[in-house]
């Protein structure tokens, strides 16, 4: 981290997006995380995704729990409202916020302690309700702020910095999300921006509950030999099943890798996800197959990344409730109060 604030001015020729914003307009306070922290790469990816999608920053609400990961909303999208809630409870706060105003983009940021331990229940229920959100777990398998205890996503048999072996089974949030009915499920790696940025963009475009589990090595407490969440280990065991382009009606984004077999998925708002298959057996439209594929590869010690499942026809909580299109926080007495005459009739019925 640095204590030097970034200067506000920038070069006049910085590239602008469709609404005239530069990348700098999506930045925020300087990070206070350790130099080289994977979480900072994720913040940068969020900034890049928001810039590329030409999102108005104030139309985003960023909500988090407690922990290193949950501090990060202070470090991106400074013009957005942020909410650093209590430990493990981001999903409920986000759900409530979403109910109040269906028109904003909800970005939930959490960590593995926050989502897989103390907040495992809320993680599950927000996904199964289909809350329209992007739920990013910055997953490093360790409690950073309290200095290196194992978290519930730490693999069985992995070694802590102090040398202790983890004897508990790991919780795989991606498998859980698939089972719970999340309609967009992805896993990525903080060190692979080319993979992560399109996934975040696609998740924002998706209507419904979108989970991105981002393996984000903790360089202070979980980057040693024997850890299965270290930079080296993740790089060596990363099994990417596809590469993704997100098309939102503007000029196609050029891809810098070799073309493979391309599958196009059209989302509810007309935007297109172009998936270049890296693994021919993998079909991200098949929830059951995705679950099997994940289990089989996990057994071989491989970390499957990419867009693992997407349901382009998904609906969200507001769809289930059939709420009015006007955000609930904009309704007033006229729409909400049945009035004095109705009350007289109610009184008459109670005699």
């Amino acid at each position: 981290m640095t204590y030097l604030a970034k200067p506000k001015f920038h070069h006049p020729s910085l590239p602008k997006n469709a609404i005239g914003f530069t990348r700098r307009d999506y930045e925020a306070s300087t990070s206070t995380l350790c130099a080289g922290c994977g979480h900072d790469s994720i913040s940068a990816a969020i900034i890049e995704a928001a810039f590329e999608l030409s999102i108005e920053p104030h139309r985003v609400a960023k909500i988090s729990g407690i922990g290193c990961s949950s501090k990060t909303p202070d470090y991106f999208l400074g013009a957005s409202h942020g909410f650093n809630s209590v430990h493990g409870r981001m999903p409920s706060v986000l759900t409530g916020a979403n109910l109040a105003n269906r028109d904003l983009i909800y970005l939930g940021v959490s960590g593995d302690g926050d989502s897989a331990s103390i907040g495992f229940g809320q993680f599950a229920h927000a996904l199964r309700r289909g809350v329209d959100m992007v739920y990013i777990v910055e997953n490093n398998g360790v409690y950073g702020l309290t200095k290196g205890q194992f978290s519930a996503t730490a693999d069985k048999g992995s070694k802590s910095k102090k040398g202790a072996l983890n004897s508990d089974s790991a919780i795989d949030l991606v498998s859980m999300a698939l089972q719970l009915g999340a309609t967009f499920v992805a896993r990525s790696f903080s060190g692979d921006k080319a993979q992560l940025v399109p996934l975040i963009k696609a998740a924002i475009q998706h209507r419904g509950a979108a989970l991105i589990d981002v393996i984000s090595p903790c360089i202070a407490f979980n980057n040693h030999v024997g850890s299965t969440k270290s930079l080296d280990y993740v790089r060596a065991h990363n099994e990417a099943v596809n590469a993704l382009d997100v098309m939102i009606g503007r000029a196609p984004i050029t891809v810098d890798h070799a073309p493979g077999k391309v599958v196009t998925v059209t989302l509810h708002d007309g935007s297109e996800l172009r998936l270049r298959k890296l693994n021919d057996e993998y079909d991200p439209g098949d929830r059951l197959a995705a679950m099997n594929f994940l289990q089989a590869h996990a057994a071989r010690g491989q970390i499957v990344t990419g867009l693992l499942y997407v349901d382009p026809e998904a609906d969200d909580l507001h769809g289930h409730f059939d709420t009015v299109p006007t955000p609930l926080n904009q309704l007033g007495e006229r729409e909400l109060c049945p009035g004095a005459d109705t009350l007289d009739a109610i009184n008459a019925g109670l005699r």
């Binding site: 104030h58 650093n84 209590v86 409530g96 109910l99 229920h125 609930l328 926080n329 004095a340």
Partner: protein, 611 residues
């Protein structure tokens, strides 16, 4: 000599829960009300679905005493399991009504009561073959018999049957027939009416009969709540369910049928309050309904909302604690847990409604208070108010009333405002301005956090900054005192050294007790406290008296503790009168307890003794 009284007695039905007795009993109570006679029904029920004892008590009271009286004048003993205890509970010279089809359970029958045996099962079995019909109509036949014994107007019962089965007309005839069967049997076999009887009058006036939970839910509808997140817990569930019912009726867009509300049955109470806080942060009026155990679970979020200054409305329908306690019994035992909820130094707003009418009023205005003060507001109901039908004044809504959304800056405001700081005390009332997310493209965003923050919502661990914030939160309580419902004072009319402070569901019993005590020559000034933090009038009231009785329904004198703590009152001057066995507090108990203390306090003042 059998008890005799007109429109002044207590009748109690002892039943087995799940047997269909509840609707018949309720119909009986309503018929009394329709005869213009004030009455006060109470459910006494177990935490169980089917098979355990349940009682339904109606206090018939032309004088309009709506608190529980205590004692039973007529016991309708339909539950063999509790028969002996029920018989033992009858007042001397009272009446026992029972099903005489089978022999009475073993045990010596009392000789000081009047026994009325009606062969309900036999009448039923002769008339009906279907087992379910036999069960249901038995209750109706019993009501019919009572209508003759107590001189109830049969037409009122028939009318109620018609209303209950509106749309299922073919059920009306058989029910009316069952009523008549019972009525005919009683008329043919007993001298009707009994000494205890009903007589049509006009004392109900324009009052309505309503449960506090339903009233509070309707208050939330009128108050503009759009988000409800809750987790089922007795005795609060019917509040959220009533809100659901009212919303289905009054909250759909007429053109499209779409919902102008969202209700989530959350995974637990922590999620419920998290959703409420998230929604309120984002500008919707949101609430949860819960009871003591839920309040315990929500603690961390209460502290968050207090410190980050986010509105929230919490309906706490109190039940007897601690732990699971007595889930279906009433108490006022969550005051301290709510007033100081969460770790660290906190203080929260409590509203203390006395009945359904106030539950409606406070249920609506709680949202104004929460928005105005940007903090959680607890509406402290209890099982006695929440789950019992109670006569109360008609609900009122001023056509000109507008929601007070508090200090919220619009996009236009933000264009005008030079320097927005989320926690800056601009007006000197300790209430800062807030913005909803998404309001303005470049201005007004801030970062909400439970960590210490400065006036601009930036993280700060500077001691002076923290202290300044905490002091402002204290000053905000001062602002609150001027906004919240004021305590109501009712003086005895002649000078007295003694006062009484009470609140919530104690009100009807306390009012009655004051009358009883006045009749015995004890004058008492009364003050009903309606909110926390306490208005200055509470301190003045105590200052005006040597001793003040604080009547409440918990073991540890929680309101008294709050008064001592917040107003720096010498505890000796606050005499606790405590009723906490889970039953509704009665005027008999209060008047007895206060009379005892008054005798003990009747010491000659030192000045007089010396002169």
């Amino acid at each position: 000599m059998p008890l005799t009284a007109v429109n002044d007695f207590v009748i109690r039905f002892a039943n087995v829960n799940g047997s269909g007795s509840a609707s018949a009993n309720e119909m009986f109570a309503r018929a009394i009300m329709r005869m213009g006679i004030p009455m006060s029904p109470r459910n006494v029920f177990p935490s169980n679905i089917q098979g355990l004892p349940t009682w339904y008590e109606i206090r018939v009271t032309e004088a309009g005493h709506l608190g529980a009286r205590g004692g039973t004048d007529i016991m309708v003993a339909m539950n063999p399991q509790t028969f002996n205890a029920d018989v033992a509970a009858i007042e001397p010279d009272g009446y026992l009504v029972y099903d005489s089809t089978r022999a009475m359970p073993p045990g010596r029958m009392r000789t000081d009561i009047n026994v009325i045996g009606i062969p309900l099962t036999r009448i039923c079995n002769t008339e009906y073959t279907d087992p379910r019909q036999r069960q249901l109509f038995k209750n109706i036949i019993c009501i019919g018999a009572l209508s003759a014994l107590l001189d109830m107007d049969l037409a009122e019962l028939e009318k109620l049957v018609g209303e209950q089965y509106k749309g299922k007309e073919k059920l009306i005839g058989p029910n009316v027939h069952a009523l008549q069967l019972g009525r005919a049997y009683a008329a043919a076999n007993f001298k009707c009416p009994l000494g205890l009887r009903l007589k049509r009058t006009d004392k109900v006036g324009d009052r309505i009969l309503l449960e506090g939970n339903a009233a509070a839910a309707l208050g939330a509808v009128y108050g503009g709540a759009t988000v409800c997140a809750w987790y089922p817990i007795t005795p609060s569930s019917s509040l959220a369910e009533s809100f659901t019912r009212f919303c289905a009726k009054y909250r759909h867009a007429p053109e499209t049928g779409q919902a102008r509300y969202a209700i989530i049955q959350a995974e637990d109470e922590i999620a419920s309050i998290g959703m409420v806080i998230g929604a309120a942060w984002n500008g919707a009026r949101a609430f949860t309904a819960t009871s003591g155990p839920g309040i315990s679970l929500m603690q961390e979020f209460f502290g968050f909302a207090y410190f980050a200054e986010i509105p929230a409305v919490v309906f706490d329908v109190q039940r007897a604690g601690p732990s699971t306690g007595m889930p279906t019994r009433t108490q006022q035992c969550d005051l301290i847990n709510c007033a100081y909820a969460s770790h660290g130094d906190t203080k929260h707003i409590l509203l203390l409604p006395e009945d359904a009418a106030e539950a409606f009023e406070f249920g609506a205005s709680a949202f104004d208070y929460a928005d105005r003060l940007q903090t959680p507001v607890f509406v402290m109901l209890d099982l006695d108010i929440g789950m019992n039908h109670r006569l109360c004044r008609p609900l009122q809504w001023d056509k000109a009333r507008r929601y007070d959304r508090g200090k919220v800056l619009s996009a236009e405001d933000l264009d005008r405002v030079k320097d927005f700081g989320r926690y800056t005390d601009v007006d000197g009332d300790a209430i800062p301005f807030r913005t909803y997310p998404g309001t303005h493209a470049t201005r007004g965003s801030f970062f909400t956090r439970g960590t210490s923050h400065d006036a601009r919502a930036k993280y700060s661990e500077v001691g002076a900054v923290y202290v300044e914030g905490m002091q402002r939160l204290l000053r905000k309580q001062e602002t609150a005192k001027g906004i919240l419902p004021k305590p109501l004072r009712d003086d005895a009319g002649k000078p007295t050294r003694f006062g009484v402070i009470y609140y919530g569901s104690t009100a009807p019993a306390m009012n009655e007790a004051a009358g009883i005590l006045a009749g015995r020559g004890h004058s008492l000034d009364l003050m009903r406290v309606r909110a926390f933090p306490f208005h200055q009038d509470v301190a003045s009231f105590i200052a005006d008296h040597d001793f003040v009785f604080v009547v409440e329904q918990n073991r540890d004198a929680q309101l008294r503790t709050l008064i001592v703590n917040e107003l720096d009152i010498d505890p000796v001057r606050l005499v606790p009168i405590l009723h906490y066995d889970g039953t509704s507090i009665t005027a008999r108990f209060i008047s007895g307890a206060i009379a005892d203390r008054l005798d003990a306090l009747k010491v000659t003042p030192l000045r007089k003794a010396m002169s």
